[in-house]
Amino acid sequence: MSILVIAEHDNNDNKSATLVTIAAAQAIGGDIDVLVAGSGVDGVASQVAAVPGVNKVLVADNAAYEHQLAEN
């Protein structure tokens, strides 16, 4: 089973909640992909990519995602 983790971040830094979630996903097992949605999130994406156990990092970088509202 593959697992998609949605990264918690503030557009600049990855938050520890993401690491907690990735660890939980690892405990379940399977391929772990992480979605980073935000604005100007290159830094966050590379931080997430460096986390052991992450298979693939998907990045959605657009000004619309800056405030990370539920609708988008």
């Binding site: 503030d10 405030h67 509202l69 539920a70 609708e71």
Partner: protein, 250 residues
């Protein structure tokens, strides 16, 4: 504008809850039940909107057993105009409740739906968000201030790092946080009047809603009891315990 406020019947917040001996759930026999405090804040906000002339009608809706009528009457006494009960004896879960409320919203076409941010029994904080997703309405969760103007609601939200102000177009879903308002007490004349206000009872079948549970509760446990403290004999023993047992100093 109509305002719908979904309310949940929960164990009163003053009651010390006990887990059933067989760990299947919380013991609800002879326990005082109340309106979920966050839903009460939602009712209060809707009534204030009505008093301010923004809303015309406040409808309290509950999904659950016949006993929920008691909580709906409380809402009517607090100022709601009428109430709807979607009656089901089955275990109502967030997705099922959200689906039932969507069916009610389709009938009523309310301009705003004010949920409590979460119930104090399930602590899920899911129904409002699920409802918003199912209806496609914009959501403003954890609101601590609502201002309505020009077909939009400006909502002050409580978030991790502080406050966030967002603007959503109506119809919208709002979930209340603790600081939105302080609910009033129902006056005796209003409690008497509430008995005459209309309370419609619907069933999920009438609404054409599938409320089958999707989550199964395997086990409910009380929090672990805290071990008793001990007295240490000397400073050395204290330091030793801090180092080796509590591991707070290295």
């Amino acid at each position: 504008m109509k305002v719908i406020v979904p309310v949940k019947r929960v164990v009163d917040y003053n009651v010390k809850v006990r887990v059933k001996p067989d760990n299947t759930g919380v013991d609800l026999s002879n326990v005082k039940m109340s309106v979920n405090p966050f839903c009460e804040i939602g009712i209060e906000e809707a009534v204030r909107l009505k008093e301010a002339g923004v809303a015309e009608e406040v409808i309290a809706v509950s999904v659950g057993s016949t006993a929920c009528q008691e909580q709906l009457r409380t809402c009517l006494a607090l100022g709601a105009d009428r109430a709807i009960l979607v009656e089901t004896e089955a275990d109502a879960q967030p997705l099922g409740i959200a689906r039932a409320l969507v069916a009610v919203q389709e009938r009523e076409q309310a301009g705003m739906v004010i949920f409590g941010k979460q119930s104090i029994d399930g602590d899920n904080s899911q129904t409002g968000q699920m409802f918003a997703a199912l209806t496609g309405m914009p959501q403003a969760t954890f609101a601590s201030e609502i201002t309505i103007a020009d077909g939009k609601a400006q909502v002050l939200r409580e978030i991790d790092g502080g406050m966030q102000t967002i603007s959503v177009s109506l119809p919208a879903v709002v979930t209340t946080d603790l600081r939105l308002n302080e609910p009033r007490y129902a006056s005796l004349p209003n409690i008497m009047k509430a008995k005459k206000k209309p309370l419609d009872v619907l069933t999920p079948d009438e609404l054409g809603v599938d409320m089958a549970p999707t989550v199964e509760v395997l086990k409910v446990e009380a929090p672990a009891e805290r071990a008793a403290g001990i007295k240490v004999e000397s400073v050395e023993q204290l330091v030793d315990k801090l180092k080796n047992e509590a591991k707070v100093i290295l």
